[in-house]
Symmetry: C2
Subunit: 349 residues, 2 copies
């Protein structure tokens, strides 16, 4: 496998490699005639510049690392598409890594990607440990954190008002007359979980509904944990007429547990989720949830990242807050979904 190099092109076109480089990068002057000759040589030889070599000299790899906890949660593929598309438009490639919500994995990936000299990171942190992010900042490597914030670090981030939207979700249930509202949280140490939990409690407080700690459980954002926590709640004998889960995967798990227990959704227990993954509108009953613009958030993160990469290193950390909204469907009874307005993330402008 003899690779064609810039040298071969130069020889073929009977010019110096500097000239080939110039026409390739459209840098510096080169006569129309020579340029033609070089292009012909490039095509004749089917030459592809070696980006590795290029990166080594320029110091930029035109690659960004995307670090996510779990690509099998449909929320993240939507984010990933947004990141990928926005990156591609700008000539960047994305390396996607799954941490399985494991901080060790996360560290390992970041190390590997740093060694590959990615130009920046888009991140959904897997745990409360800020050290990885801090390491990046210290090394002056651009990072944008998405969906979760990092306590103790000043980073660019793309977020939604988790507390507010959890508040809305809970209020919706309260508005439907529910008082025994269980809450299944995500991992306690994530800001996302804390904020959504805070929203839940604030809603209860504002509505004068007494808070019952026995109705709160902690999951890990995955389907089985929602299922298991819901079973526990049902088995506990506590009265529960509604459940709010910190994300859709857990909400769906909870719904399933309720049905397996012989109860009906929403007649016996209402369910509300968070994220609005595609699945939420497809299951029966369809799931009331908070719709996050996942695709958009990914794309936005890349834009912010590229600005940093483009030089705007200094300055304060910036935070973009994205809009979310409550999508009412069947899983909590009451009103019906506004048709045709739901936001799937992928494919949205």
């Amino acid at each position: 496998m003899k690779t064609v190099t810039i040298k071969d092109v130069a020889r073929h076109a009977k010019v110096s490699i500097s000239t080939v480089s110039r026409v390739l990068n459209e840098s510096g002057y080169v006569s129309e005639q020579t340029s033609q000759r070089v292009w012909r040589a490039i095509e004749a030889l089917n030459y592809k510049p070696n980006q590795l070599a290029r990166s080594l000299t320029t110091g930029r790899s035109r690659t960004i690392g995307l670090v996510l906890p779990d690509i099998t949660n449909p929320f993240f593929p939507a984010v990933a598409r947004g990141v990928e598309d926005a990156a591609n438009v700008n000539g960047y490639t994305v390396i996607l890594c799954n941490t399985d919500a494991d901080p060790e994995q996360e560290k390992a990936y970041v190390t590997a990607l740093r060694e590959k000299r990615v130009d920046g990171f888009v991140f959904t942190v897997s745990g409360p440990d800020a050290s990885t992010i801090l390491g990046l900042i210290e090394a002056d490597i651009p990072v944008v954190v998405i969906d979760r914030c990092v306590e103790g670090a000043s980073v660019d981030s793309v977020l939604i008002y988790n507390e507010q939207w959890a508040y809305e979700a809970t209020m919706h249930l309260i508005g439907l007359g529910h008082r025994a509202i269980a809450y299944i949280n995500g991992p306690d140490d994530l800001t996302t979980s804390k904020e959504r939990y805070a929203g839940y409690r604030k809603a209860l407080a504002d509505a004068g509904v007494s808070f019952n700690p026995a109705l709160v459980r902690t999951g890990d954002f995955r389907y089985p944990s929602g299922h298991a926590r819901m079973r526990e709640l049902l088995a506990s004998g506590q009265e529960v007429t509604a459940v709010f889960a910190a994300n859709d995967m857990m909400a769906i798990g909870a719904m399933r547990a309720i049905q397996e227990w012989g109860l009906r959704v929403p007649e016996d227990i209402a369910v509300v989720g968070f994220d609005d993954i595609l699945l939420a509108s497809l299951i029966k009953p369809s799931l009331t949830t908070i719709s996050q613009p996942a695709y958009h958030m990914g794309a936005l993160a890349v834009e912010m990242l590229l600005e940093r990469i483009g030089g705007a290193q200094g300055g304060e950390a910036r935070t973009k807050i994205c809009h979310a909204r409550l999508v009412v469907r069947e899983s909590c009874g009451g009103r019906r979904e506004e048709f045709g307005t739901r936001n799937r993330g992928v494919g949205q402008p």
Copy 2:
């Protein structure tokens, strides 16, 4: 951002860069004492080798490209996890690309990845055009094709017997007494579609059920197309008592269309899918489908790829056939799902 290089380490440890390289790669002899000193320097300086430079000299990037049509179809994230995990175990990084089933995108990605000098590709082709694959083969770049085969090219591949399993699926419906069985195919030009279609027809033929071309429609493997094709079928006035869709996303779309039409699944129309994405077991009614070991297929593809990368360039193209199976659930009435044995892909050994 002054990056620490091997030179700095050498200076700090008072040895030559050759020595540092040796301890780093555990190549050649180096005294215990020197080694210690070098390691201390590496840690003191927090040195990270530049993989770009390393790749440039060694000629291998320890990166593989994963090219998939659509990461928002849950089948592919499962494959991706398999690929990623297997790659990581072997010290490889994965660059994941979505082609949106667009051959142009596919070409663009392959070009970009080749320029980045990935060591090999794992591929699910988006179309019938073999030229991209042929280009790779010609350039002696290892490729493993997954889930679909490429006509006119001799490539390593990881497949299942699509025809056989489509046959089983159809036979299952026939066995339940159905005769008016519609079929919603994937894109006509993909081998996967052709084979599944062939299985459908063979089952009809073997059972002596007459084939009705008006009952066959073509979708694109995505939810909306399954929904639309099913609506058309219903609107056509043709008698339909069962539908077999070439993948789960379309089957779920079809199911929804049936329900929106005011009919019940499975009482009025039975539905069978193909893939066994997680979603298939979560919806109501749960979906009878052919279970493919997505995660395993991804991992297997990487193993095959690494063997090629490891030198086994010559020889015939190899094909690994993975086992699939029919998972009977609620969407077609009749028997119930065997509990606890379903294969989700991710998480499986």
